[in-house]
């Protein structure tokens, strides 16, 4: 196969070679690049460092949420509960902290612990009760949101103190000569690099991919499949808590904070070439998928489309992009 392509490549025109190269790249990078250019044309000041960082700050929650979702997706599962976990993080965080700056740290720790428990339950139900993860996390979607709303009585109450909210909306003044370097972007980099290492450079990632590809083979080759699978759910839920802290910081307390994020994160991951039902996925590509979605929202906003039509276009683009991905992966196989 490589022999043939190498020979023909010599006689290929430059255009054909460029086209082949384009086809070899994960399409999500091209989509993101195209959207980036388009947004830049519509809004030339978009690329000014401060503006761009503000955009990244807004994109961070979905991007890290997607990275967390990838862990569950490549293991062969789904996590539909992340949106509810985000909502409950915001609601419960506001109740617990109740505008007391001294409480912030233990509240964030408590929320992370809550995320840990949610992930543990998701993973244990999937692993030991053998409930399909779609159903297990669908049940958790109802439970997690129910707990948040039950606790708060259905309407948001309490306040998030400023040092809680700084993670989502604040920044370091004067760093790199910028007005404000958002904390969220630092979180984004830390999670991006950390998760990339974890999935693509460490043994754990290889075990997870093997599990998603063929659980039986993974088990027989000595992978502790139960532990690996449960840990994927825990990573995903705890990441959702982090995303919730950031979103609560940026947007304040709302019972709609996480609505729709479960599907957005799955769509973004699939846009990035993550295979549903497991076995293949990439953190950088999936995060780029989330970035592309956020760029799309920005673009549609710039074009002045009303919010409902933005939903419709979003649906069209997701179908189109996934159709293209499905088409190109079928060809290369």
């Amino acid at each position: 196969m490589t022999q043939i392509t190498a020979n023909t490549a010599i006689e290929e025109s430059l255009g054909a070679r460029a086209w082949r190269w384009v086809r070899a790249v994960n399409p999500v990078y091209l989509i993101a690049l195209a959207l980036l250019v388009w947004v830049g044309i519509r809004n030339p000041v978009f690329f000014q460092p401060d503006n761009f960082l503000t955009f990244l700050q807004r994109a961070t929650p979905l991007m890290i949420l997607t990275a967390g979702q990838v862990f569950v997706l490549v293991s062969g599962g789904f996590d539909l509960s992340v949106g509810s976990v985000v909502t409950s993080t915001v609601i419960i965080g506001a109740i617990l902290a109740n505008n007391d700056p001294n409480a912030t740290w233990w509240v964030i720790l408590a929320l992370l612990l809550g995320g840990f428990i949610v992930g543990l339950v998701n993973g244990a139900v999937t692993t030991f009760l053998k409930v399909p993860s779609l159903i297990a996390t669908l049940g958790m979607l109802l439970i997690a949101k129910g707990i948040g709303l039950f606790w708060s009585g259905g309407a948001p109450r309490g306040y998030l103190p400023d040092n809680f909210r700084m993670w989502g909306r604040g920044g370091i003044e004067g760093l790199f000569g910028l007005q404000d370097f958002p904390y969220a972007v630092i979180v984004l980099v830390v999670f991006g690099v950390g998760y990339w290492l974890l999935l693509h450079r460490l043994n754990y990632g290889r075990q997870l991919l093997a599990l998603g590809d063929n659980p039986r083979a993974a088990r027989l080759s000595g992978v502790n499949v139960n532990l690996v699978r449960i840990s994927a759910f825990v990573i995903c839920s705890m990441t959702a808590v982090v995303a919730g802290v950031l979103l609560g910081g940026r947007g304040g307390v709302s019972i709609e904070a996480g609505t729709g994020l479960e599907m957005q994160s799955i769509a973004a991951a699939v846009l990035g070439g993550t295979m549903l039902l497991g076995g293949r996925g990439s953190i950088p590509a999936a995060m780029t998928g989330a970035l592309a979605l956020e760029l799309l929202f920005t673009l549609l906003n710039l074009m002045g489309l009303p919010k409902p039509l933005r939903d419709a276009v979003q649906g069209l683009i997701i179908i189109g992009a996934v159709a293209y991905t499905a088409y190109s992966t079928r060809r290369t196989r």
């Binding site: 159903i135 439970i143 039950f150 159709a323």
Partner: protein
């Protein structure tokens, strides 16, 4: 059959009952249904906020059935696509589109009912066709494809309507409120839909094809089935049931608003009811009678929660837990690896 089982020579009553149950092909979910029904009666007796037990109250019993109609009809359609190893997340939006479309197009005029209904079924079949083509022909993952279609429907609907629009004529409301003797028409419709679903699945060639495609698309294709076409038809059936549910919802509410489908959680609950009813997410196994039991379980629980006065959000928590436990009830014995 009983002759083959070793205990048959001197079977105890219990063993004979078990053998009969095994042979009768009653889906195991009916066991859960009975357990939940009994539990509901006991809980009502102990914690009920009024003196009367709900099983002696005909209004409540009828209400349980009527409550099942909306979810039940669309869950039958969901069972079809899930038997084909697909899934439909767009049904909730289809229900909203139907409800709003019906009350807007009918505008209270009984003369416009028939063509409105035809138009809406046309729209539903078209949406199902698109879903089916995306899943069956373009091989896009069903979760993503139907989510995308759902977003498009929601976007178009919300861009056009913001609130309740128009109303259906009083005559159309008889679908939701009239009864034949003691039996509400809507319950009869649900029963007919389930019966039709059972007939198509178990007594027609198409049904056999659908099970084959869901069991293994590869094998089905190699044995000469046009698997794409089978899935397209399943998706069209599913969207049509969503339209019927939408019509029932709007005939109850008198007017449709863009949020009636999504607020009812018809997408996730129809999937949950189907899975609780014993239809495998991986396709090829299950049926509509199981789904009906799954839907009844939901309505009984809802009624019981109301009877003992449980907080709305606590209800949601319990609902989630029960979905997980009910499915776990018969998956935990299986040794297959799950995703």
């Amino acid at each position: 059959m009983t002759a083959i089982t070793p205990t048959a020579s001197s079977p105890s009553l219990l063993a004979r009952a078990r053998a009969w149950l095994r042979d009768s092909q009653i889906p195991p979910v009916y066991g859960i249904l009975v357990i939940i029904f009994i539990a509901a009666i006991l809980l009502d007796a102990v914690f009920g906020i009024d003196d009367q037990l709900f099983i002696f109250n005909q209004t409540i019993l009828t209400n349980i059935l009527v409550r099942s109609v909306a979810l039940g009809i669309v869950a039958v359609g969901q069972t079809f696509v899930m038997l084909g190893a697909s899934i439909d997340l767009s049904v909730a939006y289809m229900i909203s589109v139907t409800a709003v479309g019906a009350s807007y197009l009918m505008a209270g005029d009984p003369g416009r009912v028939w063509w409105t209904v035809l138009v809406l079924f046309g729209v539903g079949l078209l949406v199902g066709l698109v879903n089916g083509l995306l899943v069956g022909r373009l091989k896009i993952n069903a979760l993503i494809a139907t989510l995308g279609i759902g977003l498009i429907l929601r976007g178009l609907l919300n861009a056009t309507f913001e609130n309740f629009a128009g109303s259906v004529p009083a005559s159309f409301q008889s679908f939701a409120y009239d009864t034949i003797g003691p039996l509400p028409i809507s319950v009869l419709v649900l029963f007919l839909v389930v019966l039709a679903g059972w007939f198509v699945l178990r007594r027609t060639k198409y049904g056999a094809h659908l099970y084959a495609v869901g069991g293994s698309e590869e094998v089905a294709r190699l044995s000469g089935l046009r698997t794409g076409r089978v899935l397209v038809v399943a998706h069209m059936i599913c969207s049509a049931t969503a339209v019927l549910t939408g019509l029932f919802v709007v005939s109850r509410l008198r007017a449709g608003a863009p949020w009636v489908g999504t607020d009812g959680l018809y997408d996730l609950e129809s999937i949950a009811a189907t899975v609780i009813g014993g239809t495998a997410l991986s396709g090829g196994k299950g049926g509509v009678w199981g789904t009906l039991a799954g839907v009844l379980i939901f309505s009984i629980l809802d009624t019981m929660f109301n009877q003992i006065g449980i907080d709305a959000y606590m209800k949601q928590i319990l609902r989630g837990a029960i979905i997980i436990l009910a499915v776990g009830f018969y998956t935990f014995r299986s040794r297959a690896e799950q995703g």
